[in-house]
Symmetry: C2
Subunit: 280 residues, 2 copies
């Protein structure tokens, strides 16, 4: 499946700490809004199919597979064959057998119309320069009566303590870099709008908001570690220096602020994500 | 129970639309983080007691009462006897019988140490000029092994669509008015910190974040209606004009923006709230 070259690539990449955060994600902490519908589906359909689009390292996909009945199948797709290899290993290690993997672009899913009972994505559309086109493609491959489920960040909505200037700077940089790469910082707020532009009627859409919370020492290490790595040596540092949006000294200040945050016992950070379920 | 006069009063007040939003609140949409613990408690304790502090019109209190076993009791307190009368009527109408009401200040709860299995508050501490003192008082009246549960807004974290300048202005005004009245705009982010300052150890605290979502026509009417009323004729308009933080024309623009938002089919708004459970 060729990548449409007119579209943007996935900027954050797959550095060690970025992967560590990706792999922290589960159905429970990242797709809880979908679980009641999956449970309902499993009582009426013994062989449901779920397509997970832009699945990355696949921890949410494998976690979702556990909510399907024995005959249910997850198909996890991503543009990157390398990350799908990692996803495959994760599923094997987790003992999840009702899952398959296939390289695909969300803009040109290699499936017939009305192929899947559930089509799911998490933090995919917010990275794309044509999110409505991607959502329309997800709707296309969902069966009539099936569900399209999507969750996207609002990157402006990070509630944290303590208020360190270096953290604030790093969030501004993150948003600027994200937008420069073609993504939307406010995707979470625009999901209903995107869904309607992609062809859904308002009454087919159920909107909600979800969160991530980082507060325990382990959670702070996972989340703060991702940010430290991105500003110390990852793609965000390189991009910021190229674009001139931050100096070496700025980036070092950001990394130090995150390290301080990781070590602060009463530190806390919450992120707000928009969520939609579209009943096709 | 006398109100300590050194402390601030509850600014938003009880205008019709403010009440309408207050009464939209239930255990499910405003205290979901507490419900698994309440269910656990109900299996081990046939007569649990829950103190709901700053209960206002009491819809969350009455809703929580349904999660207790038959012998369980909710005691709902508020500084305002008038609003407690309304709470009492609501409970009667809802057929909730295991609930009582008592006027009290959160700063001087008229109860012995270790009186309640659960002490709960929702959007109370963020209005107070001494939130740590209030939280310490809530901890005092919780039984050892019991729970203190609290949820507070981060008023900076409103994710919405469409981006109308009048809405943005009204949120800035809301935050300024809230702070001028002695409240904290970032309470949701500071809950772990407040809890530790109030005497809790980090390992006693479980932090999470929750949300409110307004997206359907009915949800938009409830939430947007509150804001329209507050800027058209409520205490916020009066305060803004007194403080000189907005003109009549500004306030009218804000009201019109919210009216436009209410009528926008793909409009959406999410709020982010911090949550803590403290196991005493």
């Amino acid at each position: 499946m060729a990548q449409p070259t007119s579209h943007n690539a996935y900027l954050p990449g797959y550095a060690a700490n970025q992967i560590q955060h990706h792999e922290w994600r589960t159905a429970e902490n990242s797709a809880a809004y979908l679980l009641p519908s999956l449970k309902d589906l499993s009582t009426t359909n013994p062989i449901p199919t779920l397509l997970d689009v832009g699945a990355g390292s696949g921890t949410i996909s494998a976690s979702l597979a556990k909510y399907l009945p024995q005959g249910g199948q997850v198909l996890a797709t991503d543009l990157s064959p390398e990350i799908l290899e990692r996803a495959r290993s994760h599923a094997t290690q987790a003992g999840v057998t009702n899952i398959r993997f296939q390289q695909a672009s969300v803009y040109a899913l290699p499936f017939a119309d009305a192929s899947f009972d559930v089509v799911h994505a998490s933090m995919v559309l917010c990275h794309l320069d044509a999110p409505v086109q991607a959502l329309a493609e997800m709707l296309r491959v969902a069966k009539p009566g099936g569900l399209v489920a999507d969750r996207e960040s609002d990157l402006r909505m990070w509630s944290y303590h303590p208020q360190l200037p270096g953290i604030d700077k790093s969030l501004k940089l993150l948003r600027a870099t994200h937008e420069a790469a073609g993504g939307s910082v406010d995707g979470g707020a625009r999901l209903v709008s995107w869904a309607m532009k992609a062809g859904a009627r308002r009454e087919q859409i159920t909107a909600s908001f979800g969160t991530w919370c980082y507060s325990t020492p382990e959670e702070r290490r996972v989340w703060g570690g991702t940010l430290v790595e991105r500003v110390r040596g990852g793609g965000m540092r390189q991009k910021a220096l190229e674009m001139g949006t931050a100096t070496e000294a700025d980036l070092d200040e950001m990394a130090e602020a995150w390290e301080q945050w990781i070590g602060t016992e009463d530190a806390c950070l919450g992120c707000l994500h928009g969520e939609i379920l579209i009943r096709k």
